[in-house]
């Protein structure tokens, strides 16, 4: 291609583009525009997937009178309620005076801090002295981060505590774990003064 034909091509392309824009520019929208379907495509697929409006799948109307021809009955079945069950005490902060101490964690961490090992060792001592006791270790998180991720983080904390206790010689059968994520904060508050108490492994005696 010579520079000249290249230019000619470029010019032709420019003219073509101009023509396309001139021809392709539609009229401004008039208020009389039929259908009003200016917003988005209304493909057959979308239309068929949408709820049929003319002949609705009539939900049961909780009245005696049957719907008349040409009417659109509107009703909704009541939402199912759950029968009350006895509220579980699990996860509720234990009254003070428990012989077992909580252990605390760093944000988004499940490693056992060095400064927490003394408390854990005391708990291990108690378990060794009370050989028939069974415990549950609850993993808890502070309010930062999402509820679902925190469930998994709490689970990991509970397991890390269990691992430490088992490593210190307690049989695993005596220890259950459960995560409460950020659903059961020990201290209410929205800063580190509350958060540091809520990132915890909490010991509950389930059998003495």
């Amino acid at each position: 291609m010579t520079p000249k034909t290249g230019m000619r091509t470029a010019f032709a392309a420019t003219v073509l583009v101009v023509c396309v824009f001139l021809l392709g520019c539609p009229k401004r929208p008039g208020v009389t525009q039929a259908g009003g379907g200016a917003i988005g495509p209304s493909s057959a697929a979308e239309a068929s997937s949408a709820a049929p409006t003319a002949t609705p799948a009539a939900p049961r109307v909780p009245t005696a009178s049957a719907p008349r021809v040409g009417e659109t009955p509107v009703a909704r079945p009541p939402l199912p309620a759950e029968a009350r069950v006895q509220p579980s005490a699990a996860g509720v902060p234990a009254p003070t005076g428990s012989p077992l101490k909580d252990v605390f964690f760093e944000f988004d961490k499940s490693d056992i801090r060095d400064d927490q090992k003394a408390a854990l060792n005391e708990n291990v001592g108690w378990l060794k002295a009370n050989v028939r006791a069974k415990i549950s270790i609850e993993g808890h998180c502070d309010e930062r981060g999402t509820p679902e991720y925190n469930l998994a983080l709490g689970e990991r904390r509970a397991k890390a505590v269990k691992e430490y206790v088992v490593g210190a010689g307690i049989v695993p059968d005596r220890i259950a774990t459960i995560s409460y994520g950020k659903e059961r904060p020990f201290v209410l508050g929205h800063d580190e003064s509350a958060w540091k108490w809520n990132r915890r492994g909490h010991f509950v005696i389930s059998e003495k």
Partner: protein, 434 residues
Amino acid sequence: MRQRGGWARVVAALIVLAALVTTAWAQVIDRELRERVVQKITIALAGFGPFALNGEDLGKLGASVLAADLRFTTVFDVIDPTALPFEPRSVQFDQERPLFPGLNSLKIQYLALGQLSSRGREVILEARLFEVGSGNMVFGKRYVGDPKFFRLIVHRFADDIMFNLTGEKGVAQSRIAYVSALNRTAKEIFVMDYDGANPVAVTGNQSINLSPRWSPDGRLIAYTSYRNGNPDLFLLNFDSGRRDTLSAQRGLNASPGWSPDGQWLAFAMSAGGGTNLYLIPRAGGTPKALTVGPNISVSPSFSPSGNQIVFNSDRGGTPQIYVMDVDGTNLRRLTFRGNYNSSPRWSPRGEKIVFMCQLAGNQICLINPDGGGLQQLTTQGGNEDPAWSPDGRHIAFTSTRMGRRDIFVMHADGTEQTRLTFTGQDNYLPDWSP
């Protein structure tokens, strides 16, 4: 030769100039076209005259619910009633025709007319939609129901207007499930209308109930409950009222996500070392592992094609968003900004993923499935757990901007952030029904 070269340069310059002018012009036209595409459909509401029932003017309520529904779509420009050249509430059926020229001159494209009456214990909304320019009636319907469904009746009219004029299914009849903390121990699952009206508890076990997720057909809600002392996965059937245990392995059975065909759920289990994602048939069965290892993988959300799953994992050291194929292969990390990205949800049309990002606090962000196009939607307070509306035009989320956690909604571009919940101690983990 020199002269010829000079001439060629002049021509070249002219062509370049022409090309530049054309490009600039094309951009102007392009912008105009784009503006036209987002131009809203103008609609006026009339009728809904005074109709008292149990001390409430249902006419006034109906007009306000309909206006709110249509505005929320982002498709309609609902004309302020005081801007109309007539008193809208005094308009009766068959008096509308003389109003059209005046509406037309105000560039109002449609007129929605409603008239209320009663028959026995039922309330009737006679509803008509007119195209102002042609004077044609687009549709006319007679909605009949118990007065306790009055808002639903009006929502139905709004959705019918939306469908008739855009071919799109509206969300006015949709609902939002969420968790409401009633006190420090009881966290129950509630269902409310999409506009926050009519909140109703669907669990009552006074333990912790989390992560409600509507099935694609809207007949089931999957959720996690501590009612039996362990976070187990349940399916609540709205037709039968049954609650079936889907997974009750010791440890977590959490954060369910439905496949688009409604036949499978992906969810997180902590049986074993880490917390991993599993796939389980809706009818129950043996869960199949999608991820393995000592890390955390939670909050799965299927792509609308059903071929991919976006989820949250800390395998890279901090919680980040990952995508994998539905068989667990082709894993790739999507987010690299911020140290805490969480709770992703794939949009119903597939083009975006919404998630909680940590950019100056917890915020709601969008990202493309290829990892590009990161966009922050919120700035006020702490925000988390976003969920798409079924049409992908809106996002529900949790915000702490009013102190405690509450459910908010916004348009998918982050505009019009509106609070929906005002009761309970904390309201969070929203999920939008189909």
